[in-house]
């Protein structure tokens, strides 16, 4: 049995094979020759050889010295041996169809030449044809491929669109192809010069769509697959593919923050899991299990497809439960070496600042809060105190926000010969934050090398792709003793104006509060970012090699080996400093964590397709085996002294400690698929699979899943006559199940002993001398009955093509039910466990409509395109655990019959104006005039936790995106808008800024209630907030709907003619663009596009890092 540790070795082996792949002919050259000739011209010998082996030689007479005389006497000798006797060593021979082409070694050995060219001085009567290829607006097209059908004889057009080619005869058919244009086939006939006009493709129906383990024409799809317009995606300046998909495909929602290098939450058709809703990314057929999109440059992407239902995704099995995003990267194409470079450079800033109180306003509110609580005024805020602060008025947002830089460079080499092609790209991305700081200032940079090679020869094809990525993310950091409660935005806004940014009297040099005079607990974010250093480095190798055998036409065996390894280092250092009375650190502290995680995957598939009359059948069967390993070791030490040299040698060794862990999970699957197509009218797909996972106990280890989907191409029916405007109509639908085991615990069904539950005892009576007493106990609980979660998907759709498919429209309705969702719902504290175990916790249903429209129109030199999509989403919880106990999040409740994470809290009914008001109302302990009246929802005359109620939906009912594209002559313009509607956000940041305590305030707080200012909805500020005015209530629930003008880009492409004159450039385009330009929203936070937990608290915004506005300049050149 093959050990998976062999995989890296095998990868290297295949890679070597690919490079060693040489392209000498096989069959013809192996033919046995018997021939005796003496003192003949070599061209005569060749004529005899041609007769014997039924081939034609193509050569230049000069090359072989055609008129020299040779003698020959061979018997049953292979042709190539004969040739080697006849020809000099530097001549090589290559079989192309029935031709044997003789050429100089240097040229033939190169992997660059593209097409076989028949030399002009060939001894045979070839036909020479020329031509010019132009686009529909009259511009010459360069690089168009012109190939004689059925052969490899061909060429490409030059900068003027012209080409010239020797073809075997006048029956030859030229195949003209060019990316983005409709292909043509032209019979040479009696023409000698061809004027060819290519039409830009205005329909994507014939595009080939990559689905699991295969491809299918878009028109033949049965499952639900969204095709992303990569051109639009590339216009988003980001390091993360997932980020760039926002608003591009119906059914996808993306939630994210603007922190450089942070992750986004991406969901396909709503929440489908309570753990991991992120879809599976499959890059060039390689399922990426670990944090996929993060590490791959967008520049390398050729196409993106989104598989949305069980039928489409089934083949990826358990990993596909949240949907699949299939990415195909750019491959080398046969041709000479091509070099291209693209880059952009941009500036980013915060699009919005919140209106917060200044020094005087802050002191006014805080004084009122202390007075209302019967407390003496904090000296710093008391005008009668000598310690009153009147000369400091820090605006923390102004002090901290700055311009960030984003830049990206991508260099690509590609090319190939007939059988082998390659592509190598280098990418560099760098992004600095919009928040000021030193080592701890958030930033992200990444280097990436990506190489792919593929080769085919006879029945064998093989290839590989290797990516190495190194990234460095400077994290937003917090003191280790004070874990962050939101993110640095919360702390920045809570910082009070009476503290200076810099203060040389404090250790470290940054300002902070004084316990006795200011009382506020605040963190100087600028100081923190300067003092602390926390980063995550990732080195990732992702390699895959594949080998395909096609022993019989259309019967393919494919072996795919994938090895994905990420090495991580997480570093954290906190020096000694004084950032104010609560944030002082007397002992420096270092942790350094090294780890790696790897996934090895082996896939074996066997596929066969055949056509019999109108029947077309495709069969696929396979097995996959996956192994995930993780390990980590963390060192910790404190007591470093300034100047800091951060080696573990330099701290206080008695404080040093090390922890480590490792874990492994495996999965084994069997899969099968049948695709049947009758006359391009009826299509049906069956999927079946059986998955086993080590994450479950032996009794619950295996799951069986299957799906069926069908489609009816109405427009191909002869008996149905559609109106002329409808050029395409398809009805399709599917139903199926998928299993899911994507939860992070590898051994979740077992309980363990923790050996660190130690205590200490003294060495006898009257002793303070203590020593460690080891303690071992089970501290966690587990549920051994844990089993696979099952996703049941069903959908029905109509695909329309209008006006010769220049307008495409799809409408789709889906219902997905997720059963036995694996989650960690809170368990009672009284269990006494330190964990919340994974259990099959819930069943959830998502349903919705999806629409997408794509329209292209050419009017003279104008090309217009419109891509629009929208989807609705309805979420309902069907069942929760065994007891249907609701699950509570941050100001949210998840309950049967409601949505996941529905917003939940008290209802604000105004303000108590008098003691009489308080007494009239239901008992609300500690309430006084000026406090919020909370609604007695349960009518029991007491306000307590039971008076909370639903306050709105955190899930948008509608998501939409609109891409507009316009080109005129050499100019192109793109505009992109996206948004969502129908959701509410709990503005946790606003809540903390309206608390009326010692930290800073939103200016709305100035409108607080006093006995003389009663016409307000803002309660009195009071230290301690005894009435819970700041508690969860509809005061913080705000409309989350927004429309964003997400992107605008204006580009100019230099005319090919002018570029050609430079003899350096083959193409060049420059552009300017802007992102996150304008947001239409009533939301009072920074940005309604928030990052949250995406689940039970999905509507809760606690200072999500705002998405920056970006302006940038870019350039794309080819050499």
């Amino acid at each position: 049995m093959i050990k998976l540790s062999l995989i890296p070795l095998l990868l290297v082996f295949f890679a070597l094979c690919a490079y060693a792949g040489d392209s000498s002919g096989q069959r013809l050259l192996d033919k046995k020759i018997t021939l005796k000739m003496s003192d003949q011209e070599i061209r005569t010998v060749f004529t005899e050889l041609e007769k014997q082996c039924q081939a034609r030689f193509v050569y230049s007479p000069e090359l072989i010295g055609a008129s020299r005389h040779v003698s020959l006497d061979v018997r049953d000798k292979e042709l190539y041996k004969v040739l080697s006797e006849l020809l000099p060593d530097d001549i090589v021979y290559e079989q192309v169809n029935n031709y044997i082409i003789l050429s100089k070694k240097a040229a033939a050995r190169s992997i660059y030449p593209i097409y076989v060219m028949i030399p002009d001085n060939s001894p045979y009567a070839f036909v020479k044809v020329g031509g010019k290829i132009i686009g529909s607006s009259g511009q010459p097209l360069e690089g168009v491929s012109v190939v004689v059908k059925g052969t490899s004889i061909g060429t490409t057009s030059d900068a003027n669109g012209e080409f010239s080619l020797n073809v075997p005869d006048r029956q030859s058919i030229l195949v003209i192809s060019y990316i983005g244009y409709e292909g043509q086939e032209i019979k040479v006939g009696d023409q000698n010069y061809l004027d060819i006009t290519l039409k830009a493709v205005n329909s994507t129906l014939n595009d080939v769509v990559v689905v699991g383990y295969g491809t299918v024409k878009k028109a033949d799809l049965t499952g639900s697959v969204g095709v992303v317009n990569v051109g639009n995606v590339e216009k988003v300046a980001t390091y993360d593919v997932a980020r760039s998909l926002q608003g591009q495909v119906a059914g996808i929602s993306v939630q994210g923050s603007g922190e450089p290098g942070s992750f986004v939450n991406i969901k396909i058709r709503g929440i489908s899991s309570l753990n991991d809703n992120n879809p599976l990314f499959v890059i060039d057929g390689v399922p990426i299990v670990n944090e996929a999109p993060y590490d791959f440059p967008i520049d390398d992407i050729e196409s993106i497809q989104v598989l949305k239902d069980a039928s489409a995704g089934a083949i990826y099995g358990s990993r596909a439960a949240a949907g699949v995003i299939i990415i195909t990267t750019k491959k080398g194409k046969a041709g000479p070496l091509k070099l291209s470079y693209s880059a952009y450079l941009g500036a980013q800033n915060m699009p919005k600042k919140l209106p917060l109180t200044n020094r005087q306003q802050y002191q006014q509110i805080t004084d009122a809060a202390e007075t209302n609580a019967g407390l003496p005024l904090a000296a710093a805020n008391d005008p009668s105190s000598p310690q009153y602060i009147s000369n400091i008025n820090t605006n923390w947002q102004d002090a901290a926000f700055k311009t960030g830089i984003i830049e990206n460079h991508n260099l690509n080499f590609s090319g190939g010969s007939l059988n082998t092609s390659y592509s190598v790209s280098l990418n560099y991305f760098d992004n600095t934050a919009t928040v000021r700081g030193g080592p701890g200032e958030p930033s992200y940079n990444r280097y990436n090398v990506n190489a792919s090679i593929q080769s085919h020869q006879g029945i064998l094809a093989f290839g590989g792709r290797f990516t190495f990525t190194q990234s460095h993310k400077q994290n937003i950091t917090y003191p280790h003793l004070h874990p962050n409660i939101g993110n640095e935005i919360v702390d920045l806004d809570r910082a009070i104006p009476t503290v200076p940014v810099y203060d040389s009297s404090r250790q470290g040099g940054f300002g902070g509060t004084n316990e006795t005079t200011q009382k506020a607990i605040m963190l100087n974010i600028i100081g923190m970012n300067n003092l602390m250093d926390s980063y995550s480095k990732r080195d990732r190798f992702l390699g895959n090699s594949w080998l395909e055998l096609e022993p019989v036409k259309n019967l393919k065996y494919r072996l795919n080996l994938v090895y994905d390894r990420t090495e991580t280092r997480d570093f954290f250092f906190e020096p000694q400093y004084d950032l104010g009375w609560y944030y002082t650190n007397a002992t420096s502290y270092l942790t350094d964590s090294h780890g790696d995680q790897s996934t090895a995957l082996m896939e074996n598939t066997l596929s066969y397709k055949f056509t019999a009359g109108r029947h077309r059948l495709e069969l696929l069967a396979g097995t996959t085996y996956e192994e995930d390993d993780q390990q980590n070791i963390t060192g910790l030490e404190s007591g470093f002294t300034s100047p800091y040299y951060l080696s573990f040698n330099n701290g206080n060794s008695t404080t040093a400690s090390i922890t480590s862990f490792e874990q492994k999970a495996t999965m084994d699957s069997y899969l099968g698929r049948v695709n049947y197509n009758y006359d391009d009218r009826y299509l049906i797909t069956f999927n079946g699979r059986r998955d086993g996972s080590s994450k479950f106990s032996p009794e619950h280890r295996w799951g069986n899943f299957g799906s069926v989907a069908g489609a009816w191409n109405v427009s191909n029916e002869k008996f149905i006559h559609l109106p002329d405007v409808i050029s395409f109509l398809k009805l399709r639908g599917g139903y199926g199940t998928l299993g899911n085991q994507n939860f992070p615990s590898y051994y979740g069904y077992t309980t363990y002993i923790n050996n660190n539950a130690s205590y200490l005892f003294a060495t006898g009576a009257n002793s303070s001398n203590q020593y460690l007493a080891p303690g071992s106990i089970q501290t966690q609980v587990a549920d051994p009955t844990l089993k696979w979660e099952t996703k049941i998907t069903s959908d029905v759709a109509l695909d329309f093509g209008f006006f010769n498919n220049s307008l495409l429209f799809t409408a789709e309705y889906f219902v997905n039910t997720d059963k036995d969702l694996i989650a960690q719902p809170p368990i009672p504290i009284s269990v006494g466990a330190t964990n919340t175990p994974y259990v099959n916790a819930a069943s959830i249903r998502n349903s919705g409509f999806e629409f997408s429209v794509s329209w292209k129109k050419t009017m003279g030199r104008f090309n217009l395109s419109v891509d629009a999509n929208a989807h609705t989403l309805k979420n309902r919880v069907l069942q929760l655990g065994g007891t249907n106990d609701p699950i509570y999040g941050n100001e949210s409740k998840t309950e049967v019959g409601h949505e996941v994470g529905q917003i939940y809290g008290y209802v604000d009914q105004g303000i108590f104006q008098s003691t009489a008001d308080v007494q009239k109302h239901a008992i609300q302990p500690n309430a006084a005039p000026g406090d919020i009246i909370f609604k007695d929802v349960d009518g029991n005359d007491t306000i307590n936790a039971l008076d909370q109620t639903y306050l709105g939906s955190a899930i948008p009912k509608l998501y939409y995106g609109l891409n507009l594209g316009l080109t005129y002559a050499s100019f192109d313009l793109t505009l992109f808008f996206e948004g969502n509607a129908g959701n509410k956000i709990v503005n946790g940041l606003y809540q903390t800024l309206m608390a009326g305590q010692y930290t800073n305030h939103y200016i709305d707080e100035l409108n607080y209630w006093t006995p003389t200012h009663t016409n307000t909805n803002v309660p009195r500020p009071i230290i301690g907030d005894p009435n819970g005015n700041d508690g969860p209530s509809n005061r913080w629930v705000q409309n989350g709907s927004y429309v964003k003008w997400q992107n605008a880009e204006l580009g100019y492409t230099f005319p090919a003619k002018k570029l050609h004159a430079t003899h350096i450039f083959s193409s060049a385009r420059v552009y300017i663009s802007g992102q996150n330009l304008l947001t239409f929203s009533g939301y009072k936070g920074y940005d309604p596009d928030i990052a949250s937990d995406g689940l039970f608290s999905r509507g809760f915004d606690y200072g999500s890092f705002p998405n920056p506005r970006t302006y940038m300049f870019g350039l794309q050149v080819g050499f």
């Binding site: 009382k519 022993p551 200490l760 009576a765 002793s767 071992s776 106990i777 051994p784 039971l946």
Partner: protein, 517 residues
Amino acid sequence: MKPLLLTISIGCILAAVSCNKQLQQTNPNQQTAQTFWTTAAEALDAGNSVYGSLILDGSYMRFSHVVLNTRGDDATSNSPWNEIYNCGKFALDVNGFAAQAPFTAYYQGVFRANQVIENVPKISMDTALRNRILGQAYFLRGLYFFHLASIYRNVPIPLTVAQSSAGFYVHQSPQDSVYAQAMSDFQTAIPLLPVSYANVTGPDQNQAGRATKGAAMAFLGKTLLFNKQYSQAAQQFLGVINLGIYSLTPNYHDNFTEQDENNQESIFEVQFSRTVGGTADGWGPGDPDPTWGKYEARAVTFGPRNFAYGDVQPTKALYYEFLQEKTANDSTDPRLYATMFYNTNWMTVYGQPFQSVYGAADSEVFCRKYENDGFYPNEFTPAAFQSGINYRMMRYADVLLYYAECLNELGQTSQAYPYIQQVRARAGLADLAVVHPNLTQAQMRDQLAHERFLEFGLEGRRFEDIVRWGWLQDPTKLAWLQARDPEFNTYFPGREYMPIPLAEIQANLGVQQNPGW
């Protein structure tokens, strides 16, 4: 067709690679609970772990101190942190940290004790050692239930280890049943525990800090007293006294420093150290790891402003009550200085003159009991949250005054005098029988309240007393308390008990909020 055969055979071989055996993975990091519980060493380690829940943030590392002290009229809070500020004002957030942390720590202790009680009897090992381990587990479980009953009132009583999710949901029981369970556990523990570990045979020989027979008797007595079962309580306290091994330390302050731990007055104390264990703060309530230190954080939380966070301060009522009675040789009660820093010209705070730090006019008082004054320059040195002072949960002085109270309640008021006087004598106070002879039972109650207030100021006993004596239901007493400590102005009936954490109620349909919240 050769290549076809080759393809098929390769395919078959590779298909066979996917094999079931690989799907059985075992965790290389940890021992499973199924293979544990076989040796005496494992039994001992498991027993030790039950103590571990005493030193979490929610228990005696920090928040049990906050909860037990701030609500009394001996302590108050001006903390900027709501969870401390609002605790003594009876205005806690039912979902907040102060409500949740102690509850969590105590139940973690119960979970550990249940495992020992369930599994250790099955291990074949030295019977005496097994009994001691079981005795400690019963004692500690009783102690955790006592805390739950006295602080949280009506709570679940899980007595077995949940085997799957079906076992997670134990319904709430009334406070009486929780107290009864605690008493039953202490009762079970008494015969299993040694009077002292000095002379036991086994790996626990001569270890101090372990629960003893005296500790179980004292806590059984305390629980009985809380349930007004005075004669049974008296029997237990007298039993402790008759063990003859406990006495008061000559110097009162020795009970609150890191220097004189596990002394003759200590009946049960929670062990903390600055030097033992890891260097990270072992806050809990997460899974313990080897980096966890064994510190307590009361010192930095309660300590005086500028030298600590000053989140909890003594009330002026406590200060003035100390001034009511001078010692026999006409000086200030020495327990005042052991308890707090106050404004007087000789007072130093961590070596610095009080008046130069806070100003001569400042009349604030600050906690000194359980602080490291005199040993470190402040509570942030060498690191905040890292004090090593053991917490004396049961002192011999407790037993003496509890016994005196039992005698008084049983109508034997005159016999209570000598026990009270032992405690007064250490402070240098004159003989109570001379100063206040012939007190009635009611007068003696007040006298005991006064004595206890001074002896145990800032030790978390006062609010327990206020609740069990029913003062909050007595309008006169309540008004008196409000005058002494304005925090009682926001007392609301039922709120003498902490709110059951909302998270427990939300996750467990069998639990309802305590009345008043």
